[in-house]
């Protein structure tokens, strides 16, 4: 079947629609998912198509949105709970971490939690400190949960469909500034991408850039600039923070002997720290330079646009970091 360029938003919508058509147990609950059509318009038209039973508007109550979705999943439904932005997921941390991720283990496998929690991440939109995070790495700390971070429309569709069909709880993190990005996506109702597989988004031999989502976008721009100077970057898109698939990173590193990790999260205890530690463990003999990290600055994000962008990763910062290691 032909691949058609669609937006990241359309990828999400079509994944949801197809999976709801496929399985009666799949339903959506969250703030403004129904009458409003989703604050990011991902579920526009769903209420008319599927009805109020399967497209359920909730009060502004993140604890019970996440917690009731856990209960419904334990009982045999396949909920897709929407937490409008990841900033509000902090209110639901207990339901997500202590319950979604742990009830299976704690009760020795008596329960499964086939749950997807969709949420949006990212700064750069002048929303101020409390609304501008990319804190998905926090959730990747906990066993029992998967964390998806798709960076293209293609990945968003295949990963969301796979998440909905999987029997484990998935925190599905969408980037709020990437909803209009287009890429070709197979027009196949069974188009699925494997859970926990990273992906080489650009081939190169001089440096390995490990990244995801907004970092991927910046890294692709940076790589084109670097190529003009004869530096070829290989870009590994993690796609999932858990399960974390670093095999392609190790393989690439053994070729390039250099690595820069790019992410929008804060600089301490972040994805870069984990990747660097694992490269040390596995690839010590192949290291020609320290692993560099490009992340947000270690401050809350401000409102004013120029200084907000100053605090976030950019192609320029990536180019600078790469030049430090090559």
């Amino acid at each position: 079947m032909a691949d058609r360029p669609i937006t990241y938003r359309e990828a999400l919508s079509s994944a949801l629609r197809e999976e709801m058509q496929r399985d009666e147990r799949v339903f959506i609950m969250g703030e403004e998912v129904g009458v409003w059509g989703g604050t990011y318009a991902v579920t526009r038209g769903f209420l008319d198509e599927f009805g109020a039973r399967r497209v359920r508007d909730t009060p502004i109550s993140e604890m019970v949105i996440a917690g009731a979705a856990v209960g419904a999943a334990m009982a045999g439904l396949r909920p897709i709970a929407e937490i409008m932005t990841i900033n509000f997921a902090f209110l639901a941390l207990d339901a997500i971490i202590n319950h979604a991720a742990k009830v299976r283990y704690m009760f020795n496998g008596q329960f499964t939690v086939p749950l997807v929690i969709r949420t949006t991440t990212g700064g750069g939109k002048q929303l101020g400190a409390t609304h501008s995070h990319a804190p998905e790495v926090i959730f990747a700390h906990f066993p029992g949960l998967y964390v998806a971070v798709p960076g293209t429309a293609y990945d968003a569709k295949g990963m969301l469909k796979a998440s909905i069909r999987d029997d484990n709880p998935v925190l599905f993190v969408e980037h709020s500034t990437m909803l209009q990005r287009r890429s070709p996506v197979p027009d196949d109702p069974d188009f699925l991408l494997p859970i926990g597989k990273s992906d080489i988004k650009r081939k190169g031999s001089d440096v390995t850039i490990v990244t995801y989502q907004k970092g991927l976008e910046h890294s692709l721009v940076a790589a084109e600039e670097l190529a003009k100077e004869g530096i070829e970057a290989e870009i590994v898109d993690l796609r999932w923070l858990r399960p974390l698939d670093l095999e392609p990173v190790f393989e690439s590193f053994k070729k390039t002997n250099r690595c820069v990790v790019v992410e929008e999260s804060l600089p301490m205890f972040n994805v870069g720290a984990e990747v660097a530690a694992q490269i040390h463990d596995v690839c010590f003999d192949w290291m020609d330079a320290p692993v560099k990290r490009v992340a947000a600055m270690d401050i809350p994000l401000p409102y004013s646009h120029e200084i907000e962008l100053m605090a976030l990763p950019s192609p320029e910062k990536i180019i600078r970091a790469v030049k430090e290691v090559v």
């Binding site: 019970v64 917690g67 856990v70 209960g71 009982a75 020795n108 999987d166």
Partner: protein, 327 residues
Amino acid sequence: MAKPNKETLLDWYRQMVLIRRFEERCAELYQQGLIGGFLHLYIGQEATGVGAVAALGPNDHVITAYRDHGIALARGVDPNRAMAEMMGKRTGVSGGKGGSMHLADRALHMWGGYGIVGGHLPLAAGIALKMKYLEEDGVVLALMGDGSTNIGYFHESLNLSAVWDLPVVWLIENNQYGMGTAVERASGAKELIRRAMAYSSEDGSGMKMGPRVDGMDVLAVYDAVSEAAEYARKHGPVLVESLTYRLEGHSMGDPQRYRTKEEVESFVVSGPIGRFRHYLTETYKGVEKALDKLDAEALQTIDDAVEFAKSSDNPTYEDLISHVYVD
């Protein structure tokens, strides 16, 4: 609502005594170091758990907080497997990985005890949503302590259940103290049942305010929860408050500086098991012998459970690493 016959009442008595003996033995085993972690005993609250669970049918569901041994036993969890869980054995209901606070038995629709105060309340709403979604018969009985009525989960879960007309009986086991803090020191509403008003409307929609029942009287609890369950099946959520009393500390090693010995003593005298025994002997002439037999059998059951648990294996490395994910 079916009036319980003599056989049923004797079975409730059996359950209450079984729970009491189970808890007493757990306290001993804890002192001996054979049970670890937190241990929250149900002693004093048996009438609430037994009466409430007795009001349910096999297609109904039960979920509770961390003071869960009595609820699990009342729902029919095998005492052997409950005791094995206490001792962290792989034959335990949760494979030794849950412990005292996390007794679940899916086959019995016993969805578990939960260690985070209020954490199970949204789960109860979700289980009820599944029944409504699939148009299944049945209600969820969600038990909670008075302490959990002050946490955000309580508000969000009860409110959502009212908005969505979910078949839940929310049952507050008001044992007078959240850890060491008396209800009136923690709640603006001293009568916790009044919380139901926050989720109900003048036209009668929303949460139904159920009764505030004498939780030391197993018959009264049974009647109240039966009526509430019937309403919940047809219309939506009901809040019921059961006034009970925890005769032991919050957990093991609680110095109980927050209450007097005299206060505790006054509840020992009016304790639920003695009261029910008195009712039975008054109602059924010559029943003492049967009750004595049940007392003896309960002791034997607990002895057997301890033996079973002691002779069971510890979990293995394979158990340690299993069930983190669905493979």
